[in-house]
Subunit: 248 residues, 2 copies
């Protein structure tokens, strides 16, 4: 999760989920962002039921109704639901804020799966707060650009505040994304993060900026399945291996 | 504005504001995004009062308190205020939703200035709804990447719904941003937009992806002032000229 937009939250969620499922872990990927971008990342476009998280939280659907299979045997997905076709997301945000159902859903999902991954919207609103209340791990993608670095303290404060109420919550780390060694500003940001933050807070693995990462959404397939030898795919596969070891 | 994160909303707001001010128009730039990124774009970092929009909406400050001068004589800025230091933005979103003050502030500001520009957060929450209720013009930055294109219908639906309640509101156009001719996916997105949307809906001017655009935030100065001959700066200057003519 991150308060900054466009830093690779959805890309990271989709690819880690695909990696865990490929390793044989029963994985559930939940799209909690009313934009509903996960659908495009895993290729559940036309023809799939559109009911999802919003419809479960509003009582119109059960968990069983909204669990969707994907091309990977061990990966199931919960889309955000009919809210992504609405012109206004305020009802969704209020529903998440008022009902304690999101943390409950996460607890129920954790009982049935090995790993549950939640893609959150940008910002520090009710969805992020509720997701932090029900989570055990959190990863903060940090795009290697000056503005993303300047606003990072905000998400770290939010995680710290949430950890006060949810003792199970740990920050697994900051993940540097869209690393481009040809950009001086990008290299400076990565160096700054490495020298100013404790190594235990920043993953050694960096996700490079690659054209294949961008194409994956057009193709509707996780990058790690579509182009496993792409440098960004290899970095996600490597990260998933580290995390699987930590969680085991 | 745009529901998608990281597409160039703040970059566009900061640079158009700087262009209008340079052309001698009395310009006010309001940061309505609780992330508070405008502050980094115009270089109002340390030492400036942090009170802003949030403090005005909560009644703690008057409009005069929160109007800040910048290095440009005709550009004044309203920062988002003390919420950007908070761990949770839900109070801010509720304040904007419940109080009709944001549209009122825009009306009051329009009476004192030639141009008022509002930078909005990603998503379709209460801030976007209230800003649309008080606006006359809206520009939608569209990052030239497949995922940004796939979620664009959402913001167009929101603008259409808002125009039903605010007859003054017009969509000035979709602005293609971070255009990179070396990326095949990017070129495809730009071509798709040009062939599938009416030319009156898409600006002829495209903003290219340039390293100077990224650096500008580190330097705390609008790109058009820091590197006016940069291709992205020239595109913003060109766009501002077109808009100034339309508004006149
Ligand atoms: N490693 C990468 N290399 C190149 N492009 C990338 C990479 N990771 C993500 N992208 C692209 O950057 C854009 C933003 O990524 P993504 O949508 O995953 O970010 P996000 O943080 O989920 O955005 P939002 O704030 O809108 O939810 C997308 O167009 C995606 O294709
Ligand atoms: N033309 C450009 N070329 C290269 N980089 C750009 C360009 N425009 C913006 N950027 C960079 O892309 C990132 C996202 O831009 P920006 O923050 O303006 O988007 P935004 O839509 O306001 O994001 P958010 O959704 O978080 O508010 C920033 O790091 C910025 O420096
Ligand atoms: Mg996303
Ligand atoms: Mg912004």
């Amino acid at each position: 999760m991150s308060q900054k937009g466009g830093v690779g939250k959805t890309t990271t969620a989709v690819n880690l989920a695909a990696c865990f499922a490929t390793r044989g872990l029963r994985t559930l990927l939940i799209d909690a962002d009313p934009q509903g971008a996960v659908r495009f990342g895993v290729g559940l476009r036309a023809g799939y039921p559109t009911a999802g998280l919003f419809d479960y939280l509003s009582g119109a659907r059960t968990l069983r109704d909204i669990l969707l299979p994907t091309q990977l045997p061990w990966l199931r997905v919960v889309l955000v639901g009919s809210v992504s076709a609405a012109a206004d997301h305020a009802v969704y945000h209020a529903l998440v804020a008022e009902s304690g159902l999101l943390p409950e859903l996460l607890a129920e999902a954790r009982a049935r799966c090995d790993v549950v991954i939640v893609d959150t919207p940008p910002g520090l609103g009710s969805v992020v707060r509720r997701a932090l209340a029900g989570a055990q791990h959190v990863i903060v993608p940090l795009q290697c650009e000056p503005l993303a670095l300047q606003t990072t303290p905000q998400i770290l404060r939010a995680i710290q505040a949430a950890a006060g109420e949810n003792p199970e919550l740990t920050l697994d780390g900051i993940l540097l994304t869209m690393y481009d060694p040809s950009s001086a500003a990008c290299v400076r940001v990565a160096e700054y993060v490495r020298t100013h933050l404790s190594p235990s807070l920043v993953f050694g693995t960096m996700i490079p900026r690659t054209p294949a990462s961008v194409d994956a959404f057009a193709a509707g397939q996780p990058l790690v399945l579509r182009a496993p030898s792409d440098p960004a795919a290899r970095a996600y596969i490597d990260l998933a291996a580290q995390l699987a070891e930590r969680f085991a």
